[in-house]
């Protein structure tokens, strides 16, 4: 059979960079396959010079030889979008890992690519439009139930212009290979639409009416975040921190408790063990809001540190593309990318192999623009039908040496709306979550009253200042008023900012409870003038209060125990005000 395959031959191999001499033409960022015996290894063209294309290979290049054949495909690296993504575990190239395990056993095998969505799976389709309707890209044509969501089948985002529905399938069960709509474009050409579509991962999906300003808070149920450094739906935030400060634990807690429709976890170049925990526990944890397993609302894209480096980059883009797809259905999606530094390092590795002129710390000059364009894919949008949907992006950063002055952190800080900086001091002192309230910031609005939030920030700063001063002049050189402020700040830190991730109640605090507790602390402690005879008494008072508060934090919201402790704390406070 004669085909019009475009071919090339390998001339150079340097790690995962393979140079290919091509015959006719090559397309930047197109996918190509190296033919190595009966293996076909996926790669992407990343630079073209003369008749030579440099490609990054998404697999190990071991045993590849100079002179081997390469087949170009003309297609950009794409994700397959359709019903059946939820609950899945993909690698960076959207291969379903459980299916690969069934086929290949314990180890990943290079050159094995499986369909992300099984073509023969059937879905119950209900049409929402009728013949003759005019539609455009992103318009909803019909709906299928997927887990707890209404999964809308839309006009493919790549369709340009307006179309007329020539035919639409009736209510019934169809598989992904069955055309459900026939569209006629302006020139009369006919296009078949399936329940599944493809989209190049590196381009944002823009099939919506407007992009809006993020204003509605995203409730993560972490008190420190929600109350003091909030994130909005459609916003962006980053979590830089040295190793061991608890970035990943923070992300895991967020993925469990956040009040959001869908969570896409991009485990990019981190430990496999962490992904394992998520993927083994999520099917068994019930989401409190829906009563269904967490895995029903989660998609995991996992390209862990020992998997091929080039696919780290694609894992981040695959994740955001899937998130954008669900946003188009009017859902709120949260992406947790862990860690963006590994993605940046993958870029650095490739840039080095291409012998590009290095920027700071050998990162390529385009690092900033790549990071910016990734975070810019977040946002809350008004769709064609007036509904809204959002993509919120939270990325962790692993700065070399825990130093935030490094290029990846700095490039990210320029483009995100909130900064949750973790500090070694806090994690060493076991103050979790180790987000440092003195360096973190957020541009979004909290659901807590603003004066209360400002008071909280001010008290923490004051407490820090007094603590610094005490290091120099000692406790005896500090006046009682300052000392009490210091104790108040420490108290706020201990009972409100710190949260016990291993306590069933304390690990997640609802917005309602946060407002109640923060209001309580604001009124009874922060704003309160206390009369203590001396520092010893003050210390004792706060120590006792702290113990009571810890019990309060682990008592069920509005249960009898909750109310008893609240009363006890109130009484304890009053005693010292009246004296």
């Amino acid at each position: 059979m004669v085909t019009t395959k475009r071919l090339g031959r390998i001339t150079e191999i340097n790690g995962n960079m393979v140079m290919v001499e091509f015959e006719s033409y090559a397309v930047q960022n197109e996918v190509a396959y190296i033919i190595h015996g009966d293996e076909r290894l996926k790669c992407e063209v990343i630079r073209i010079r003369g008749n030579k294309a440099e490609t990054q290979v998404y697999e190990s290049t071991s045993s590849i030889k100079v002179g081997e054949e390469v087949e170009f495909t003309d297609e950009l690296l794409s994700a397959e979008l359709g019903p059946g993504l939820l609950g899945q575990i993909f690698d960076g190239l959207q291969n379903p890992l459980p299916h690969i395990a069934e086929k290949c056993g314990f180890f990943l095998k290079r050159g094995v690519y499986l369909d992300p969505l099984p073509g023969d799976s059937e879905w119950e389709f209900t049409p929402l439009r009728k013949e003759g309707d005019k539609v455009k890209a992103g318009d909803k044509l019909g709906v299928v139930p997927e887990k707890i969501f209404k999964h809308y089948i839309m006009v493919p985002f790549s369709f340009r212009g307006s179309f007329e529905i020539g035919a639409i399938a009736k209510h019934g069960r169809y598989n992904l290979k069955h055309p459900i709509t026939r569209l006629k474009d302006e020139s009369g050409k006919i296009h078949d639409v399936f329940m599944q579509q493809v989209w190049p991962v590196k381009l944002p999906i823009r099939a919506y009416a407007d992009k809006l300003k993020p204003q509605k808070p995203l409730v993560t149920k972490m008190r420190l975040i929600d109350s003091l450094f909030p994130v909005s739906l459609g916003g962006t935030y980053c979590i830089p921190g040295p190793f061991g400060a608890g970035k990943t634990v923070l992300q895991q807690l967020t993925s469990r408790h956040a009040e959001i429709d869908i969570v896409v976890i991009a485990a990019c170049g981190e430990r496999a063990g962490e992904v394992v925990e998520t993927l083994k526990t999520f099917p068994n944890i019930l989401d409190r809001r829906t009563g269904k397993p967490l895995s029903d609302r989660t998609v995991i894209i996992c390209n862990t540190s020992s998997m091929p480096v080039a696919a780290r980059e694609s894992s981040v883009y695959t994740a955001v593309t899937i998130a954008e797809y669900y946003r188009e259905m009017g859902l709120n999606v949260l992406i947790l990318a862990d860690s963006t530094s590994r993605w940046a390092q993958a870029m650095r590795e490739m840039s080095g192999r291409l012998e590009e002129i290095p920027g700071e710390e050998a990162f390529p000059a385009y690092l900033e623009s790549r990071i910016a364009s990734f975070y810019e894919r977040a946002g809350i949008v008004r769709l064609n039908d007036g509904e809204t949907g959002s993509v919120t992006i939270g990325g962790t950063i692993s700065p070399a040496g825990g130093n935030f002055e490094e290029p990846v952190t700095q490039a990210t800080l320029k483009v995100v709306g909130a900064f949750h900086g973790l500090s070694r001091e806090r994690s060493d002192a076991r103050r979790y979550p180790a987000i440092d309230p003195l360096i973190s910031w957020s541009k979004y609005k909290s659901f807590i009253d603003e004066t209360q939030v400002l008071k909280g920030h001010a008290m923490l700063r004051k407490g820090h200042d007094v603590a610094q001063m005490m290091k120099v002049v000692g406790e005896e050189g500090t006046n009682l008023k300052d000392y009490i402020d210091y104790l108040k700040a420490e108290f706020l830190d201990f009972v409100y900012l710190q949260q016990n991730a291993f306590d069933e109640v304390d690990e997640a605090t609802t917005a309602e409870r946060q407002m109640h507790i923060f209001g309580f602390i604001y009124k009874r402690i922060l704003e309160q003038e206390f009369n203590f005879e001396d520092k010893e008494k003050a210390l004792k008072f706060f120590q006792t209060l702290r113990q009571l508060f810890r019990g309060w934090n682990s008592s069920e919201w509005k249960a009898a125990e909750f109310k008893t402790i609240e009363k006890e704390i109130e009484d304890g406070c009053i005693k010292y005000i009246q004296r």
């Binding site: 575990i89 430990r271 496999a272 992904v275 020992s306 390092q345 590795e349 825990g402 076991r430 682990s554």
Partner: protein, 432 residues
């Protein structure tokens, strides 16, 4: 059978370049010189020019020497015959035993599919309270010991290896001093553990590049045993030497260095090794303990820094003890909830109080007056350092927890510890 090439066109550092055809990337070749033979590995292909890193170093290689390509990547033997044996960094025997060439397996094989891993859940007891109580080690964990040269990290590794309940031990030594090698051998021998151990030893006097293979060989062998259901403990010491060898090759190859001369892919290189730690579904496991010396006691040095991001925690060995701050076993939560109900409480409380003690010591050093609370902390800190922190202490976990409560009761009132009431009622020692 295999074609021999004699046209070496460049020798720089420990990398030689030869003109050859039909060579696969990462393939192994044998370089024969007047001084002996060495293995070499293909690290770059550019048309006909093949760059190889020579594991025995390039000293004495002539441009007319023979290079024979073997047509396969680096392999190592597997099987029971390896037990009790000692090999060098390329897998050649050091113990006068026979060369093993049966059942060869490729080293540096593909990654484990994450969905085939299981959540680690078996604690490895060591009898060291600083580990068992505060940072429990878990089967399939990867954990480095950060220390400066001169600290007893090899002694600590050997002690853990001997006391840990595992089926077998693999020691990968990189740049190991000869006496340290003998120490490991004798220590394991004394405890009768040598027969279930395999050594891959690269000593400080061997060519630097040869240590590049040690982690891969050790882990490839470990993987084979783990697949057969064995629980394997792999000790790697010292990984900083491995990184320095990577640096050397990278600079020789004129790659753009990223940080203090180390290559940009240092993280990926280390991760490829450490991620071999695994608990297989329905088979065995690999646990990795590694020593990483920190040049200049600087944890932000690229080697400990990148390591810390990969491993599941780290132990700091400082002044002969495991430093409680910074030391962390990330997997401890998988096991310390199932040991005893007070395990986590003791862990958190004792460390928080010890942190306050450290602050007080600082204050005292600056000459401040000591309050009543400070004095209590000082008393507590002293007992803690002597009875819990010292590596001399060798007691099981439960004893250590009991001792913890006693120490708290000796020094504080229940309220001062900040422990929840219910816990206090159950565990606080009753004064008679």
């Amino acid at each position: 059978m295999h074609k021999v090439y004699t046209k070496i066109i460049q020798i720089a550092g420990d990398v030689i370049m030869v003109e050859a055809e039909g060579v696969g990337y990462l393939e192994i070749a044998v370089v024969s010189t007047r001084h002996g033979v060495s293995l070499a590995q293909v690290i770059r292909l550019d048309g006909k020019r093949v760059s190889l890193q020579v594991f025995a170093g390039s000293k004495g290689i002539s441009t007319g020497d023979k290079v024979k390509f073997l047509g396969h990547p680096m392999m190592v033997a597997k099987g029971e015959d390896l037990l009790g044996r000692i090999f060098n960094g390329s897998g050649a025997p050091l113990d006068k035993g026979p060369v093993l060439s049966d059942q060869m397996v490729e080293i540096g094989g593909p990654a484990v599919n994450p969905v085939k891993r299981i959540i680690p859940n078996k604690m490895i007891r060591t009898g060291i309270p600083m580990i068992d109580v505060f940072n429990s080690i878990v089967e399939s964990q990867k954990l480095p010991i950060f220390s400066i040269a001169g600290e007893p990290y090899n002694e600590l590794l050997a002690r853990i290896a001997i006391q840990a309940e595992v089926d077998m031990i693999i020691l990968g030594g990189m740049g190991l001093k000869h006496d340290d090698y003998l120490f490991f051998r004798d220590a394991l021998d004394e405890q009768g553990a040598l027969a279930r151990s395999i050594f891959f030893i690269h000593t400080a006097s061997d060519p630097v590049v040869e240590c590049l293979l040690v982690p891969d060989i050790s882990l490839a062998v470990a993987e084979q045993f783990a697949l057969e259901g064995k629980r394997v403990l792999v000790l790697l010491t010292d990984m900083t030497n491995f990184c320095d060898a990577l640096k050397e090759i990278s600079i020789t190859m004129e790659r753009v260095p990223s940080n203090r001369g180390y290559p940009g892919d240092l993280y990926s290189q280390l991760a490829a090794r450490y991620e071999k730690a695994v608990d297989f579904e329905a088979a065995g496991s690999i646990t990795i303990l590694a020593a990483t010396t920190m040049p200049g006691d600087d944890v932000t040095h690229p080697v400990p820094d990148n390591t810390g991001y990969i491993t599941e925690g780290q132990f700091y060995l400082k002044g002969g003890v495991i430093e409680p701050f910074g030391s962390l076993s990330r997997l401890r939560q998988q096991v310390n909830g199932k040991t005893r109900d007070d395990h986590r409480t003791i862990m958190d409380t004792m460390i928080q109080l010890f942190a306050s003690y450290r602050e007080t010591v600082e204050k005292r050093a600056m000459g401040f007056q000591m309050s009543g609370w400070d004095k209590k902390l000082l008393k507590y800190g002293g007992i803690f350092e002597k009875e819990i922190m010292s590596l001399e202490v060798n007691i099981p976990l439960e004893k250590a927890l009991d001792r913890g409560w006693e120490i708290l009761a000796e020094c504080f009132t229940p309220a001062e510890t900040g422990i929840r009431k219910a816990m206090i009622e159950k565990h606080w020692p009753k004064t008679s």
